[in-house]
Amino acid sequence: MRLALRGVNLSIAAGECVALVGHNGSGKTTLLKIAAQLTQPTRGEISFHEGERPVALDEVKNRVGMVGHHTLLYDELTAEENLIFFAKLFGLPDPAGKAREALDPVGLTGRAADLVRTFSRGMRQRLSIARALLASPGLLLLDEAGTGLDPEGQHWLASAIQRLRNSGCTILMSTHGRNETQAAVTRAVRLEGGKITHDSGVGGDPKKILVLAAVRGTESGGEVES
């Protein structure tokens, strides 16, 4: 049993677009999972605030969307059924309508009635992202959301992130470093061995850390998104 994170103290303000960089195993996924409340930290805690007022963790769940390593989709259901199901679980009004709406931006309206089992990797990833955006989240957590997307998909993702940023969404995303989505990033945090080694801070310049991460990624043979 390894400790994935050690002594991580991180404060993120609303509207920030934070990139988490680091090698595989540096703790990025664990940090994202804690933010999503999927894992409880062994020690320490996570809290959300609206101004000075703390928000109940249960309430926060309504406004969090996550794209993980796995697709989080049911292969035996159609794309539309998947989205309707999750829309219902999030208590959204008119789940069917919301599902249809969500399929359009990811270009899957034509495949709404097809089983997810028949989808390609890229299509599943797009549907997974659509799923995360269903409830119009105020906090979006992306765990290497670009993997599996073709260049067109990557481009779409980058502009979607920019759009979300413009509408005030807070984004926390893990990345290996070289990525189109970098453009929207306002802050970069580097994790190594479970500790924060660099943080460009609120209002700082994330570019140096991102570039460093991209270079290191190629040196040690880490994955580079194409």
């Binding site: 049993m1 390894r2 400790l3 050690r6 002594g7 020690r43 061995g193």
Partner: protein, 238 residues
């Protein structure tokens, strides 16, 4: 964040002190003397009946052990403190050991007296099922590698298994009332001297149980510590 290893004390005292060992030994000796020599020989069954003292007291201790499993399981889920998990596994293993004694002494008693090794009478059958239940608990533990997941998962199963105990006893007892069979029980009245010996045996067995659980608990604590050291080593060699 302090490492797990530096937070734990290296055990310097033995799990059970010499005086306690002596006490348990004396109790056991007294109980054995009482059971094998002092207690009157039973009329109908003869010498072999003496096994009843150990049979019954082992069953009681097995019970207490399984109640400890329940307590440990509930406490672990509420506090997440590993020591409760250590208590649970220690008690489960000791409980299984005691019920093994019950299941072995039962037939040993039955054969000379009733001519058959086993009857599916209420008490023996229930004991058998309890034994199986907690063996399953132990098997479950061997199949989950990650320590905190293992603790959580076995705590849940431990709670279910413990809650099952009264249901097992009732259902088997009522079944037997409907379909009576020869009972490997304490046939005959209990001479007061037998009562004293039984009490003594209970005390002795309780002592043995406590000692065994403490030893096993300590073993589990040490294993946990070794794991923590290993983790530290892996991390610093990073």
């Amino acid at each position: 964040m302090a490492t797990a290893a530096t937070e734990m004390q290296a055990p310097s005292r033995p799990a059970i002190s010499a005086p306690s060992v002596l006490l348990v030994f004396l109790l056991l000796a007294a109980a054995s003397y009482g059971a094998l020599i002092w207690a009157p020989t039973e009329n109908t069954m003869g010498l072999v009946q003496r096994i009843f003292y150990f049979h019954v007291s082992s069953a009681w201790c097995g019970f207490v052990s399984f109640i400890l499993v329940f307590i440990g399981s509930v406490a672990y889920l509420r506090t997440r403190a590993p020591k409760w998990d250590w208590l649970s596994v220690a008690s489960a293993e000791v409980g299984v050991a005691f019920f093994t004694v019950v299941l072995v002494t039962g037939p040993i008693w039955a054969k000379p007296v009733w001519g058959i090794w086993w009857t599916w009478d209420a008490r023996l059958t229930s004991s058998f099922l309890l034994w199986v239940l907690f063996v399953s608990y132990l098997v479950l533990r061997t199949l989950v590698d990650e320590p905190s997941r293992r603790a959580t998962v076995s705590a849940v199963f431990g709670i279910f298994a413990a809650l099952d105990i009264p249901l097992v006893y009732f259902s088997i007892w009522w079944f037997r009332t409907q379909h009576p069979q020869p009972v490997i029980g304490d046939g005959g009245k209990l001479d007061p001297r037998m009562g004293y010996v039984l009490l003594l045996c209970w005390a002795a067995m309780l002592g043995v149980m406590t000692a065994l659980i403490r030893l096993r608990y300590r073993l589990e604590a040490m294993r946990s510590e070794v794991d923590a050291y290993r983790m530290d080593a892996a991390r610093s060699g990073h």
